[in-house]
Amino acid sequence: MSENKTHFVFESLPAVQMQGVHKWYGEFHVLKNIDLDVVRGERIVVCGPSGSGKSTMIRCINRLEEHQKGHIVVDGTELTNDVKNIEIIRREVGMVFQHFNLFPHLTVLENCILAPIWVRKMSKAEAEEIAMHYLAKVRIPEQANKYPGQLSGGQQQRVAIARSLCMSPRIMLFDEPTSALDPEMIKEVLDTMIELAETGMTMLVVTHEMGFAKTVADRVVFMDGGEIIEVNEPHEFFDSPQHERTQLFLSQILQH
């Protein structure tokens, strides 16, 4: 919300820098030599067949997964085993999950004000004001005092987006935000994400929604087998995919 004094310094830095990142689950090589720079304000859509490592990749950015080799620098801070750095990065990076992961024992409003109060040390009144602001942005201010269990999937996901935004993150990660939703609810969530994109938020979105990729993304990243196969502007990506595997993937998902 408030502009940081050092903003212009960050401006010149990429929001996320991944260099030669490798990750193994035991013997299984999930991420292979990932190189990706995300510019501030950029909207990136990551797609690829299931098991291609796309979720793992974005989960490495806020250290929900640990990478074993290579460098990840987020907002000028390198992710290491240093807990301090992880804390700094998590404060700046918001994340929205496939299964929403709202806290079921708290109301919508309580879900939103919890981290601002306990992590950002805001007063309750201030946190509530911000929460209501974002709940209005995602168009469900009237649900503030309900419990997540009383909301539809689409509403829950919008609350999850609002909850992340209440921490005023500089980067937002979306891990298949619409995959667990009934078809009629996908649009309301995508609309919210499009509005967020219009505010200039840096976004990394793992999704199968190719329509969203076409309208919103600055670049589309295609992954397969733990590797980034192709990175391109959406227009180029969909109309003239360079790589054979990209062509195959697109022909499979665009058939219907």
């Binding site: 804390e87 079921p104 992590v119 419990y147 269990g149």
Partner: protein, 373 residues
């Protein structure tokens, strides 16, 4: 549900919805459906009623109708029913043990204070729960200790060896519950910790205490522990028993709590992490509130057991309710009234346990926000 409304005249098509006939719903409907639906079920119902009559009539006859209630010695018990005179005469001892009669007001006052504190904690309308919790955990124990033990503020000191009866049972179980619960939570968290040393210590602690019978623990605390202590150092026997009970029960609580922790989906941990919550905030604000809610039945079960297990202190010479009743039964003046004694003990224990379980059901209902995930 009055039927008289049905008598009014209505325009065609305007007839209001009437309640269903009384023979279909409510008590009568239920009886019909469940007890008298056909000749076979009707027969079974009557047979059941007859059995109930066979079993309970003599009990009621003995315990209430034929019972002797007034008097002050066994001579008053002549009618052949239960001799409640025995309980009446000894009630003071059953409640306070050998606590000096002149000082019993201190126990009463503590009990009153306890009841008020519990009411403050549990009645939803009373505000300031945070202060109530603080009072219950910090202020009340100090007051209770000073009041019961005495020796300060002009109060006559009363040795814990004189404490007994229901008072002792309640002290043992309340202190046991209040101290074992947080310790159990810490152990459960320790057992799921990422830190190998913390985890190993927690596992070792839990498995050690779960592996020995409570009787052994009590014996150790009263007989063996003094052997290891330097000459002249002597803790109170009650305190030693309490420590034993607390450590023993905390291991059980830990396992119950751990089962709750395991039931919380990983997404909850991740969502808390992603919001930047530290470990203790994550656990305290997100994970434990949900996990504890899930295991309320298990926790209450453990408390229930703890309450009844306090009777085992009898074997190290502490006179809890059961022990003091047993002792009273040895009295030559009252030989042969063990049925009365044990019935009374059972009833008192049942009342407390039943109260606990009703309360736990009430919180379960209250905390249920219709969700999981």
């Amino acid at each position: 549900m009055t039927m008289s409304e049905g008598k009014t005249d209505y325009l065609s098509g305007q007839h209001p919805d009437l309640p269903p006939p009384i023979t279909e719903v409510g008590v009568v409907g239920w009886l019909r459906q469940n007890l008298f639906s056909n000749w076979w079920n009707t027969g079974l119902t009557f047979l059941g009623l007859y059995l109930v009559y066979l079993i309970f009539m003599p009990l009621i006859q003995w315990a209430i109708i034929d019972a002797d209630w007034v008097g002050d010695s066994r001579e008053a018990c002549t009618s052949g029913g239960a001799c409640w005179v025995f309980i009446r005469v000894r009630l003071d001892q059953f409640l306070y043990g050998f606590y000096p009669v002149d000082e019993q007001w201190r126990v009463n006052l503590t009990g009153l204070l306890l009841a008020a504190t519990i009411a403050w904690l549990t009645v939803p309308k009373l505000l300031g729960k945070r202060y109530a919790g603080l009072f219950a955990l910090v202020v009340f124990p100090v007051i209770a200790y000073l009041l019961l033990g005495g020796g300060r503020f002009g109060l006559e000191p009363v040795e814990t060896t004189l404490w007994g009866g229901l008072m002792l049972t309640l002290i043992l179980s309340l202190v046991g519950i209040v101290a074992a619960f947080p310790l159990g939570i810490l152990l459960a968290l320790g057992r799921r910790s990422n830190m190998p040393v913390v985890r190993a210590l927690s596992v070792a602690f839990i498995e050690l205490w779960r592996g020995v019978p409570l009787i052994t623990v009590l014996f150790m605390s009263s007989v063996m522990l003094p052997l290891f202590l330097p000459e002249g150092v002597n803790f109170d026997k009650l305190l030693r028993a309490l420590i034993g009970i607390v450590l023993f029960q905390s291991a059980y609580i830990a396992e119950v709590v751990r089962s709750g922790l395991q039931a919380i989906p990983r997404g909850q941990y991740e969502a808390a992490d992603v919001l930047g919550l530290s470990y203790w905030k994550k656990m305290g604000l997100i994970i434990l509130p949900q996990a504890l809610r899930l295991v309320i039945p298990g926790i209450v079960n453990t408390f229930n057991e703890l309450f009844k297990d306090t009777t085992l202190v009898m074997i190290i010479g502490l006179l809890d309710l059961l022990a003091i009743i047993k002792a009273a039964l040895e009295d030559a003046n009252w030989l042969g009234y063990s049925i009365e004694g044990y019935t009374f003990t059972g009833l008192v224990f049942w009342l407390f346990c039943f109260g606990m379980s009703r309360y736990s059901m009430a919180i379960e209902r209250k905390l249920h926000t219709g969700h999981q995930r």
